[in-house]
């Protein structure tokens, strides 16, 4: 499948999604409306949270295409955002730096 066919030519995510956004499968089964790529994404995210960048790699999709796919799944309620652990202090500069490094390495 060519990448343009996966999203039917769409290049903009339906809802905001970042490469580092963590998503996991929602507590509802996917339905027929989900594309094969979307179904595969939901399966990968079942029982664990994955970042959009990871999903792109696992599904062998261009990152932007994976963002569109994941955004569709989020909008459809098939995936949900997996919130990071709130117990950590979000204002810790070293943590932010580590996150920034991680993002740069993506």
């Amino acid at each position: 499948m060519r990448a343009y066919a996966v999203t039917l030519g769409r290049t903009r995510p339906a809802v905001p999604v970042e490469p580092a956004s963590l998503v996991r499968a929602a507590a509802r089964p996917p339905y027929d409306a989900v594309s094969p790529e979307g179904l595969a994404a939901v399966r990968l995210c079942a029982g664990q949270a994955l970042s959009v960048a990871e999903l792109a790699a696992l599904l062998q999709l261009p990152l932007q295409v994976a963002k569109v796919v994941v955004a569709d799944l989020l909008a459809g309620g098939f995936l949900i955002h997996a919130m990071p652990d709130r117990s950590a202090d979000g204002s810790d500069p070293s943590l932010l730096e580590a996150v920034l490094d991680g993002l740069r390495n993506l």
Binding site: M1, R2, E37, A46, G47, Q48, A49, L58, Q64
Partner: protein, 499 residues
């Protein structure tokens, strides 16, 4: 009665005295059977001779002579058959006259047909474009020659002769195109290689941008290159060659979606999830994709831009039927008939009426022995039906979006349904680790899709190098999707919290 003197010539078929009615009926039936068998033999003969005429390096006259001999042979047998069929049909004078008239036209038909085939062979030998085959106008209905006649054995015979002539003519053209395109084949291969290279580069470009506008441009280019690929493949198909080399079975979902993606207005093509677990055998898959793409594009082109063309696959006895529906203004019965004749190769294409697509469909259908049929659908548009025989299909335990349609696990559970060498294993490297998802899954099919279309090698390391490997993917899938549905949907108890 004109039949009397002739009867003595067909000694075996005609008893000396008038037989009882039952005997006559039996004779008639036998004649009809003989007439049915006749065209098959003569078709082979004619086509063979015509083919030889086109290919032979000898002077045309010799080879065409062979073809004419075959035609004469055919005519001779026809004459003998004429007698029998006349006898059989001679119950009423009216009917007899009609049959006689019908049969009298046959030699003319044969003569004219062979003259045209010979001329076509000459032109082909000179490297020119051959004229399409045209039958003598006297045979056209409506000119009062044989009112309501071409039914029964005589009509069948005439029809068979026409078919034979058409086949012979097609054989000549095919042979000619083979000669002509030997030189251009190298060029086709070169274009195909360039197109593949362009697609690889586009894959790479897709990976390098998150800019929606740039990606949009890339998508447009990608679509154009993909369509170029299809156009080049059409040339290969018309030349009697495979569009592209595929070894592994391709999931039916991918076949249908890829076909849609290759059409001009791909966003208008709606692919319904096909029955789960089916894959099309590798060597046939490329051609099936090509064929469905032609039909879908045809549907889209002849229907309003704000309507969809739907592609569905349904189980049938001994295979699958793919239905391609458009919501266009539709076609008349005659037009549909012409299209059906074109795709079943019982009609010679006119060449210049923009029906290359149909010619490609016809060629693929012939090679793979697919039945293709056009009919009117409930929208008033055209429905194209393609029957894929089970010999071209693999049944695999593959979960697709349509898996929910069969909640009672009627799908073949045997892992052996997918032979090991055809298993679309997706080897994905994550960080420094490697794992192989348990096939066949949505992941593996997505992966094979991409490798299947000449895609890049797996690239992942950089993008996910900083995150832990999601190793339990296969397990999680098994637990969740093993028996499905009715299994606990375990979404929120995973390891995510520890991340």
């Amino acid at each position: 009665m004109t039949t009397r003197p002739q009867r003595h010539r067909s000694t075996s078929a005609a008893p000396p005295s008038d037989p009882p009615a039952e005997d006559r009926n039996r004779t008639a039936r036998r004649s009809a059977t003989a007439l049915g068998a006749l065209p098959a033999a003569s078709a082979t003969l004619l086509a063979g001779a015509a083919y030889a005429a086109a290919l032979s390096p000898l002077p045309t006259s010799a080879a065409v002579g062979a073809g004419i001999c075959a035609a004469i042979g055919c005519a001779a047998v026809t004459t003998a058959a004429t007698v029998a069929s006349r006898r059989a049909a001679a119950r009423t004078a009216v009917r007899e006259r009609a049959v006689a008239q019908e049969l009298r036209l046959l030699p003319e038909l044969l003569d004219e047909g062979m003259r045209q085939i010979t001329a076509a062979a000459r032109r082909v030998r000179r490297g020119e474009t051959a004229e399409p085959l045209e039958f003598p106008a006297a045979r056209q209905p409506g000119d009062g020659v044989v009112a309501g006649a071409p039914s029964g054995p005589a009509g069948d015979l005439t029809e068979a002769v026409r078919r034979t002539l058409t086949e012979a003519h097609t054989a000549v053209l095919t042979a000619g195109s083979g000669r002509q395109t030997d030189a251009s084949l190298a060029m086709v291969r070169k274009i195909q290689a360039l197109v593949l290279r362009a697609l690889e580069l586009l894959d790479d470009a897709h990976d390098r941008t998150e800019d929606p506008e740039l990606l949009d441009v890339l998508f447009r280019i990608d679509h154009l290159v993909t369509r170029t690929q299809r156009a080049v493949e059409s040339v290969a198909v018309l030349d009697g060659r495979l569009p592209r080399a595929v070894r592994r079975p391709v999931p039916l979902t991918t076949v249908l979606r890829q076909a849609a993606a290759e059409t001009e207005e791909y966003t208008r093509i709606q692919v319904a999830p096909p029955p789960a677990g089916y894959a099309v055998a590798g060597p046939a898959a490329a051609e099936v994709i090509h064929l469905i793409a032609e039909l879908a594009e045809n549907g889209a082109r002849f229907s309003p831009a704000d309507t969809k063309v739907t592609v569905r696959a349904a189980l049938a006895r001994e295979g699958l039927v793919v239905e391609i529906d458009d919501q266009g203004p539709g076609l008349t019965g005659d037009q549909l008939e012409v299209m059906n004749q074109l795709v079943s190769l019982t009609r010679e294409p006119d060449g210049e009426d923009g029906r290359t697509g149909l010619a490609v469909v016809a060629r693929v259908a012939q090679r793979l022995r697919l039945a293709v049929r056009f009919q009117t659908n409930l929208y008033g548009g055209v429905q194209a039906l393609v029957r894929l025989p089970s010999t071209l299909l693999h049944l695999a335990e593959e979960d697709g979006p349509a898996a929910h349609e069969q909640p009672d696990h009627q799908r073949a559970p045997s892992p052996a349904a997918y032979p090991a060498d055809t298993l679309p294993l997706a080897q994905v490297r994550v960080g420094r680790r490697e794992f192989t998802p348990a096939p066949p899954t949505g992941l593996s099919s997505a992966a094979v899709d991409r490798s299947r279309w000449g895609r890049r090698a797996v690239h992942t390391g950089r993008a996910v190098g900083s995150v832990p490997a999601p190793e339990p993917v296969a397990e999680a899938e098994d637990e969740l999707f093993g028996p499905y549905p009715g299994v606990a949907w375990r979404a929120d108890d995973g390891r995510a919290g520890g991340r």
